[in-house]
Amino acid sequence: MAQDNRPLSPHLQVYRPQITSVLSIVHRLTGIGLGAGAVALVVWLAAAAAGPRWFELASNMAASWPGQALLLGFTWALFYHLCNGIRHLFWDVGLGFELTTARLSGWAVIITSMLLTGISWAIGLSKVAGA
């Protein structure tokens, strides 16, 4: 096809990574990862509807160390995608495009997503321990 011979724009790897570009890529990656998280949520809901034995199986899988590691990853991915999504919505209405603002909001997303992950796991684990 003639279209195949058209010049291409430079590929991603020729650019120096910057916080804006890295966070944009991470937004996509967390979005894909949260797809797996959404499937896990459906499995959990279906197990709860199917009965106590299925629910126990799902709970045991979630409580195992690979399950816990995955859940920790889903938690951070969710909070990251949520915070960075809000950042994107501000850009969509034309706000926050100045370089200093975009970098600052990027760091705010990183710190806030980690804080929210830490706080929710601290409360969650203390509830498990107290139960």
């Binding site: 959404a38 709860a48 509807a49 949520l82 999504g85 969650g124």
Partner: protein, 130 residues
């Protein structure tokens, strides 16, 4: 140019054209579902923290309250809709073979619809179950 097309306004002549053939519909749907998900995700994460270590009976009781099943159905529906739109863009950006691209988009869209259906049905079964 025929008389018919001259009768059309300029906007009517270009509507539906362009490389995407759909204007901003996909972009707009992605943003609308994102706005819907903001409060739902905050409610959902707070609920899961509250339910940490909960047994089966507690989870069932929670999904039988008046508000939780409605918000959970909204979350699952808006979530899989948003996911399907996002995954479609990723596929269209990185898969260049037309046949593979179309197959992946179809699998993604139908898979998201099926997963959402299972999630919604499970919630309703618990909410309306004895």
């Amino acid at each position: 140019m025929s008389n018919h097309s001259e009768m059309k306004s300029r906007l009517a002549r270009v509507r539906g054209l362009g490389s995407a053939k759909e204007g901003v519909a996909h972009w707009w749907a992605q943003r609308l579902s994102a706005v819907a998900l903001l409060p739902l995700i905050i409610w959902f994460s707070a609920s899961l923290v509250y339910l940490s270590g909960a047994n089966h009976a507690t989870v069932l009781a929670w999904l039988k309250t008046p508000l939780a099943p409605i918000l959970m159905v909204a979350l699952v529906s808006a979530g899989f809709y948003h996911l399907q739109l996002g995954l479609q863009v990723v596929i269209e950006d990185y898969v260049h073979n037309g046949a593979i691209k179309l197959s992946l988009v179809i699998i993604t869209r139908l898979g998201c619809a099926l997963a959402a259906l299972i999630g919604v049905f499970s919630v309703l079964r618990i909410a309306f179950g004895g």
